[in-house]
Symmetry: C2
Subunit: 389 residues, 2 copies
């Protein structure tokens, strides 16, 4: 499973440093034969993505134990499982935002989604689950950008269809449990304009065509909508893009939980799109997908497995459990027993089926409870007077 | 004086035909050694722009006597001096819009200005004077786009300064006498968003980078704001960009009075920017500029002049009178007497000084009467219930 995350902190809005770093990262990487940009994730000679190299090249730092302890201290909460297990493993300037937080300065969170499909798969939920934890732990406001404009341009679907998908996806996002008193969800088609558009123009002035080509690999036959899109996604990093929330403040920092790559995350088999587990899947289809697609690190025969144990490095069911099984002790127990051959792949897959079915079931119930009025409430352009409390 | 105009009619909004034609015109022209694009106007080997060639290359037609007569018949008014004297001399699909108008179908007008300077010169007023005539004659609504975003990006002035200039320029535009019950003036920084932004995205999807480079001559080191700007200026051609005026109508035609080139229009000497007559100039500075800069077609000595008369083809004071002297008989009289040597250049320059001073004086008085409340009224996003009456 790819889509491992990083947390990126945007500093003083007018410096544009974070945004510029973000943008230059993909370019540098291509020199090393592994290509990571928003549409392509290719490892050197078909191997694995070297995330250590990625961290270096992207100008990130490891999100280490010390930092995780610091988060625990500052928030008074057990760090999220995605932190404890290294799902979110890199960051940029997170120390600075924590320094400021420690002094009583607040920040805000920004994440988003390109609404290209009706239903989300589990990989899509990962950043939202983590963002919800950050919101609850730090008690800070959150803006969620639905880039319906992007999907209209890239997927060649109509404006109306993009907007419909954005609203459907908003329901899935709301179902993750965000706090309506601290969360503003917006569709670009609805919200671009005014102060937000002014920041788009300010950002566009700082980025040349050659720069975006280096980063994203556009060609001359790409339409100009693609070329002009980066400012739309950079504008939310600046608090004055949201005057109803932050007035004309320019000094508020922005923390962006995001994936370091955007590959086939969430799929059990990288090559098969059907292998992703969707939040609309039933228990029986989850079971089938796990049994059919989740590559096992177990041995060929039971005898050999009892003797050698599973290779946990390549075992997909175990990897999924690392993501989604909350209980640290139970996970450790499985690691031991599966690793030494006491547990069989079938048992681990059964456990995973149970864990994922619970998550999907819980999500389905929560999503069914999301009304159109709730969507309107989250998407209303309104002040959030208690967003920092 | 360049900046000769054409009237362009945009057809069914979703066909994009007119906009695409508009965009491809500059490209074609460069093959012939004369370059005409929004920033460059260069004739072959330093000669004059060949406007006949320009009309062909831009896919326009001559705005001939027959068409001018038709406009007179349809509006029941004497055609504007700019039509009678060939200042607006080309068009695209104007016949179609008149066919529709004759059947009772209405259209709307769209023009605009990039607010890059505090004060306008007379060349800047030409399209607005003509547009006011069209609005009065056809009794149709008008949208005026102030591209403060464009100027912020091209002139590298701040968002705030661009917006200030836009408001100042709006006062000059309002002073031309537009009807507030039929006119919507908007600043891009204020108005881009919603349905307007949706159309920007739809347009952007239809235009490749290679296409805009061919037209506008951008380089890879140009910033992406420039590359993404064409849709901002194309969006007003589509009525559903203005839902407060036209709801979701897509069938309303748009007539765009515009300059066929955007060179040194309004200057008495093409090479000297000080030679332009500004609406803020006094009588004495107008007199000085005319005497100093307006190239005379008169002869070297009075004796020779009385004998040969002036060369009206190259005489700038006479050209200006053709633009700004309303009285056809008086102009004809001057053409005769100056052409045969009865009148001297000094007399013609004096007449021009009087004509321009009157225009500038009238404008100054009208502009002084434009209050901030009036600007707000013109720029309010509001329905115009009587705009077609």
């Amino acid at each position: 499973m790819k889509g491992k995350g990083e947390a990126s902190a945007a500093g003083h809005p007018m410096a544009h440093k974070a945004a510029a770093d973000e943008l230059s990262a993909g370019q540098k990487l291509e020199e090393d034969d592994q290509v990571v940009n928003p549409w392509t994730v290719t490892a050197k000679e078909g191997g694995k993505i070297d995330y250590d190299k990625l961290i270096d090249k992207f100008g990130c730092q490891r999100l280490d134990e010390k930092l995780i302890d610091r988060i625990q201290r500052l928030t008074g909460r057990t760090p999220h499982v995605f932190l404890r297990r290294g799902v979110f493993f890199a960051h940029r300037d997170l120390n600075e935002i924590l320094d400021a937080y420690e002094k009583g300065e607040k920040f805000y969170l920004y994440t988003g989604r390109g609404p290209s499909s009706e239903a989300l798969h589990l990989g899509h939920l990962v950043p939202f689950m983590f963002t919800k934890y950050l919101q609850d732990a730090f008690k800070v406001p959150l803006v969620i950008q639905l880039t319906d404009d992007e999907k209209c341009m890239w997927k060649n679907i109509s404006v109306e269809e993009s907007q419909r998908l954005a609203r459907e996806n908003a329901k899935d996002i709301i179902a993750c449990g965000f706090d309506v008193t601290r969360t503003f969800i917006f569709s670009d088609f609805d919200y671009v304009g005014g102060e937000f558009y002014k920041n788009m123009v300010r950002i566009a002035k700082c980025v040349t065509y050659n720069k975006v080509v280096g980063i994203f690999g556009f060609s001359g036959e790409d339409h100009i909508g693609k070329i002009s899109f980066p400012p739309v996604q950079a504008a939310p990093s600046f608090p004055n893009s949201f005057p109803h929330l932050f007035k004309d403040r320019k000094d508020l920092r922005c923390l962006i939980p995001c994936a370091i790559d955007q590959g086939e995350s969430g799929k059990m088999s990288a090559s098969d799109p059907n292998s992703a587990i969707y939040v609309t899947d039933t228990r029986s289809s989850i079971k089938k997908k796990i049994n059919k697609y989740a590559f096992s690190g177990g041995q060929d025969s039971i005898e050999k497995h009892r003797e050698l144990g599973a290779n946990l490095e390549v075992d997909i069911p175990f990897k999924y459990l690392c993501f989604f099984l909350d209980d640290d002790e139970e996970l450790e127990d499985i690691r031991q027993k599966y690793g030494n051959g006491e547990m069989l792949t079938g048992e681990v897959k059964m456990k995973l089926t149970q864990v994922l079915t619970e998550i999907v079931e819980r999500h389905r119930v929560a999503r069914a409870a999301v009304t159109d009025e709730m969507v309107d409430a989250f998407m209303a352009v309104r002040p959030l007077p208690n967003m920092f409390d």
